[in-house]
Symmetry: C2
Subunit: 332 residues, 2 copies
Amino acid sequence: MSDTLPVAVDAMGGDEAPAVIVAGAIAAVRAGIPVILVGDEARIRPLLPRRGAPEIVHTPDVVEMNEGAASAGRRKTNASVRVAMRLVADGRASAVVSCGSTGAALDAAHCDLGVVDGVERPALASILPRSDGGKLVMLDAGANVDCKPEMLANFALLGAAYAESIGVKNPRIGLLANGEEDGKGNVQVRATLPLLRTLPLDVIGNVEPTAAMAGACDVLVCDGFVGNILLKAAEGAVATVQQLLREEIARRPSGIFGAWLLSGAFQRFRKRVEWDAHGGAVLLGAKGIVVAGHGRANAQSVHAAIRVAHDAASHGLEATIERRIQAYVTQH
Amino acid sequence: MSDTLPVAVDAMGGDEAPAVIVAGAIAAVRAGIPVILVGDEARIRPLLPRRGAPEIVHTPDVVEMNEGAASAGRRKTNASVRVAMRLVADGRASAVVSCGSTGAALDAAHCDLGVVDGVERPALASILPRSDGGKLVMLDAGANVDCKPEMLANFALLGAAYAESIGVKNPRIGLLANGEEDGKGNVQVRATLPLLRTLPLDVIGNVEPTAAMAGACDVLVCDGFVGNILLKAAEGAVATVQQLLREEIARRPSGIFGAWLLSGAFQRFRKRVEWDAHGGAVLLGAKGIVVAGHGRANAQSVHAAIRVAHDAASHGLEATIERRIQAYVTQH
């Protein structure tokens, strides 16, 4: 797949769509990533600059955040998220970015892209920053709340392919658990670890979140319920830290001066954390690249999500996944 | 129960026992909390000051961190953690603190203290700092990895009692989930929410970790697997933030000066986070107060755990739990 194909962006999905989506898309175009905006042209056009504006594919339908996401996604064949998927299916776009309902995006991917042969269920992968400077691929981040061990084994293959596509050689796979010894974990984890060990992967065993974030593994496998909790716990902890630190700084007379000196450091730091964690989760296992952005996305994180989608397409993520899954399927 | 009874401290449990445990106990004694140290007198005595040293109850046996915790806890009736429990059962101590194997402590509590009538399974409660300045009681933090909905309902009662004992009036109860709408969550969560709503508690529904840490509820109910993951994800995220911030500061010439000005703020901030999160998890539902400290405890966190245990005993936590559970049991 050519890396010069544009990214199809669902302009209507997200709490502040289309304004922030369009702003993020314009930033991506300025950074050299071609984009197609999909949505209500009458609302999108006024937000665009006269020169260098991205192409618009018009569709009036939207899946609202509060409607039953999956059923609405299935019913509304002309919803912006579904039209965006079909641009990929038709070879007109390299990837889809949607900051709308994740359920609707997953459902649209099922309907309009389909699933790679050998994949049980596509999973959402998030990237978390690690304290050793590396990147932690964590999946499932929320697509499948109840998972059989076989699904988790499948996620390990998908996660390994994704880690490889972002430059990690021989990714080390960890199974999320409450302790590192074999035998730790709940019923699901204890059934999954032996299964993971049969895969052609570097499986290091059970890994605790603290160890994973310090660099113990490159891919962390879990079900979508626990993965979503992990992600939001990390997000909540960072927000709490920022708030408490702000209060501590304010409490100290010299702190205001210190805070002023540090403001740039704080800004860069926040960018680094948010860029990775909120840029968007990548759906792995669909026949096409889909990035689900945060519903409360701002223009910066929309831009980040578009960059993630574009990079995944350029690095041949889909082909890597197909190769990984096929190698496994033919072995078994 | 009198609040002047000493706290029985398992001097032999923890990665750097007895040295850091004794150091923490000495700090607690200096802060006015009476302590009994339980363990190998020959190893403890040399670590104590000549004046104002806490009492020692000698026992030579220890449950090592790497032995099968539960079975060892059951077999070794004279292990330090079990002798400490019996001091509470015999009315000689108000509470137990152990930084050894949590499994062994739970098992010792079962054997030597027993369980409050009407409690299905005791649960570990951790306190997390919230960004609004409040405290979040989270349980189960790791005692029970696989839980039926009835157990989670029981945890809600235990958590409410604990929140009340630390000064929260009419605690708001949330069920940990990946979204706030009814119907979100995995099979377990969807079966638990209707059950929680039958309890004589202020149940606000499903709560995401981000919302809980921002103050949406006072008690967050989950199973011990997910709770342990949440806790360690928050811990890992805070460690990553500190590391990234340190790097950002070092990168900036004026940053060193800023960091120097801020060092006090950082120190107080770390204390606040660690004090709450690592002071120790409180076992709720046993006939006696047990605080499980962090295996990698330092003297400061041992002191914190002793304070948590002493406060819980002083505030009549056990009686509050019995009242809550009895009120529920007689209603049903």
